[in-house]
Symmetry: C2
Subunit: 220 residues, 2 copies
């Protein structure tokens, strides 16, 4: 994406010109949690820009968890006091407080335009999630999550599309805002139809991704 | 809000300096619909800035509607081909295509920073909506919608807080992503408890807003 490219390039340039002491760079291992409330930044929020790895933004309430977005390299998000993220794959990230960002953007207007576009991507994704929750049932949402995971991480072999590190039932439930039990019911149904095979823990084979995608049209 | 102020001021200034021919100004009566697909703009999206009145952004699917956000003066949103808005109160708005906005923002970097902050407001609201749908039942969501409406539009008289143009059951259902029937059940319950009185069509009195707000804590 052009926008990401710009942002990354500008950050790289700032690194070289010595502006790096205003920025917070982090190298975080998988499993590490990032709490907005732990970060020290002035102003309403900070911008978090992901350079490599993968993050999961989530919300919690009384022991329940809901995955909001997955972030891939090049994505950015605003980091507020209530923001919570989990490092899913060892990540390299930059956190820029608003006053610092403001100073940088006044000197380099392209930066704010790019950040605006990146935040809009996140906004559009959140609108799709709202639509999904309002208009679609658990089966539809789970099939979509499976197709997205297959498109993103799937490896083709003679049995179909192999997902080597497939989220477990609970992860899927969090991701689509459903209960574990309803996810497990739908997964069992997909296995029964022969569309999906579960092997050892954490591995899944989608024998017919085309058929799975076609289900999206017919399942509310 | 400082950000809105800036944006409005900058737009006002642009009006005076003759940059107005690059911008689309609209005066729209209540009830008018705005479809992103009807707007002519280059680039991924346009920015819609609301100067006065009120708008409702919504999504539809197979005859069902879901209200995403209400926009008040000073709010901005990105307008995509799939965006749909309804004018709830006669509105004055500005639509700026991305290339025009880019040119303006390069000359006036404050503009992109402000737009970024305004889009982030919308993003945070959408995250709250996702959390509401994932973590709270219809009763909680409806009570919150009532409290928000009371805080925004309520008029105090001897009976409590009067809402002169209260959304009907269907509007509330769309707003919180629930069915008409479940909203109607919860409203009947609130009337039975004496917290809410429904008078003629479109008018509602909340006799005890404090008690209604306290309900939010106890109701999942």
């Amino acid at each position: 994406m052009q926008a990401d490219h710009h942002f990354g390039q500008i950050v790289d340039r700032l690194l070289k010109t010595g502006a790096a002491h205003h920025l917070t760079f982090r190298n975080l291992p998988a499993g590490r949690l990032i709490y907005g409330s732990d970060e020290e930044f002035d102003g309403d929020f900070a911008l978090l820009f992901l350079r490599s790895g993968r993050l999961r933004c989530f919300s919690t309430f009384e022991g329940k968890e809901m995955t909001l977005f997955q972030m891939e390299p090049g994505d950015a998000i605003s980091l507020h006091a209530h923001s919570m993220l989990e490092v899913k794959k060892a990540a390299e990230l930059v956190i820029i407080g608003l006053p610092t960002f403001r100073a940088m953007a006044l000197a380099e207007p392209e930066l704010a335009l790019t950040a605006m576009t990146l935040l809009d991507h996140v906004l559009q994704r959140s609108i799709r999630l709202i639509e999904d929750m309002a208009f679609h049932g658990v089966k539809h949402r789970l099939i979509r999550a499976l197709c997205d995971t297959a498109d993103r991480e799937g490896r083709r072999d003679e049995h179909g599309i192999v997902l080597d590190t497939v989220p477990n039932t609970e992860d899927f439930a969090m991701q689509i805002g459903a209960t574990r039990q309803s996810v497990s019911t739908v997964l069992a149904e997909l296995v029964r139809c022969g569309i999906v095979h579960r092997y050892g823990t954490g591995t899944m084979v989608i024998s017919d991704l085309g058929r799975l995608k076609r289900e999206l049209v017919s399942v509310r």
